[in-house]
């Protein structure tokens, strides 16, 4: 692919992402209107209209996504900062990520079995509540399908934003710390965006929940799948 085509594709991606960010800000940070979702939708429409094959688009934008790995590594910095600040309640938080994470992933896998989903769908359920970059790394390790993984991760994120806070109120949980942490564990970055409405404390615990759920899943999911 000529480098001008590649640059053009990168420019289009950046522009639709910037437009997505603008819409998100203008909507008063409406959690469902994540810039990344708007950008993906716009590019999907563009590919369908122009007939440009996805593989060519993917190859052309490698300058963007090849930095994803190093950026996951950089996530260690905010996790370190947050854990240090939350060290007084670290033990119960780790306990609830471990047990809650098992409930989140375990219930999905079990339901998948009950409903008789095929193997690739079952694999995508294993990381449905994990933040997309980590979920994709895990999918690569366990031989999962990238489109299905993305679909499960984003669907869970969007649904979580819409239903989780009302469901938690329904079971009489009103503490912003607990709600934020749960949003982070079940709905990753979308959960963080939603917890913004619940205050800075909720955001903090949502961030921690997302990071711990991502790390825990990255360690446990491929290990358990290898044992099976």
């Amino acid at each position: 692919m000529p480098s001008t085509t590649s640059l053009g594709l990168i420019a289009i991606t950046v522009v639709v992402f910037a437009a997505g960010s603008y819409l998100y800000q203008r909507s008063g940070k409406f959690p469902v209107l994540q810039p990344v979702l708007i950008a993906i939708l716009a590019i999907v429409i563009m590919l369908l209209l122009t007939g440009l094959p996805y593989d060519q688009y993917y190859e052309g934008t490698s300058a963007l996504h090849s930095l994803l790995g190093p950026t996951i590594v950089a996530l260690a910095v905010p996790l370190f900062d947050n854990l240090r600040k939350a060290r007084t309640v670290l033990l119960p938080l780790l306990g609830s990520v471990l047990l809650g994470g098992l409930a989140v992933t375990g219930s999905a896998l079990l339901l998948g079995q009950i409903f008789g989903l095929d193997f690739l769908m079952e694999l995508s359920l294993a990381t449905k509540s994990v933040t997309a970059p980590i979920a994709l790394s895990v999918a690569e390790k366990i031989g999962g399908s990238v489109p299905l993984t993305i679909l499960s991760v984003f669907t869970t994120g969007i649904l979580g934003v819409i239903v989780t806070p009302s469901i938690l109120r329904w079971v009489n949980i009103k503490d912003p710390v607990v709600t934020g942490f749960t949003l982070g564990i079940t709905s990753h970055a979308f959960g963080i965006a939603r917890s913004v409405e619940l205050g800075s404390e909720a955001v903090a615990f949502a961030t921690l929940g997302m990071a711990l759920m991502g790390c825990g899943s990255a360690l446990l999911v491929p290990t358990l799948f290898r044992l099976i």
Binding site: V73, A74, A108
Partner: protein, 136 residues
């Protein structure tokens, strides 16, 4: 710039270890773990690392776009059973959310009662927020 090179280096090292010892853990997570251990030993985040991490994480969501567009492959060939997958995602989200919230509430209450330190959560915690949303 040093921080940027450092994170790339640790990612490459993680990838090398993951492949060399055929570990089940992705290379990026091994690199992540190595950096976390180094920070814990050092007990602080040096400025070049902090600056590089902040600027890279600001663009995390943008980097995800080309991969997310991969869902276009599902449009041409919708896999059978996709509606069942959606149903499972909804039920699992409700069950997992309730279980996690109840567990967190119970564990925090137990722990804080035993350590007799109720004010700890609200007073001590001011966090740094990373969001896979818009660059701030």
């Amino acid at each position: 710039m040093f921080g940027f090179a450092f994170f790339i280096g640790m990612y490459l090292l993680g990838n090398y270890l993951s492949i060399q010892f055929s570990l089940p853990i992705p290379g990026s997570i091994i690199g992540f773990g190595l950096v976390f251990v180094l920070l814990t030993i050092r007990r602080k985040v040096d400025t070049p690392l902090k600056e590089a991490a902040d600027s890279m994480l600001r663009y995390l969501a943008l980097m995800l776009v080309p991969i997310g567009v991969g869902v276009v492959k599902l449009i041409g060939a919708v896999p059978p059973g996709i509606s069942k997958l959606m149903l499972v995602l909804v039920i699992a989200l409700v069950l997992g959310g309730i279980a996690t919230a109840k567990l967190t509430q119970w564990l925090l209450a137990r722990y804080l009662t035993s350590s007799k330190d109720f004010a700890v959560i609200s007073k001590d915690v001011v966090f740094h927020n990373v969001s896979v949303g818009a660059p701030k």
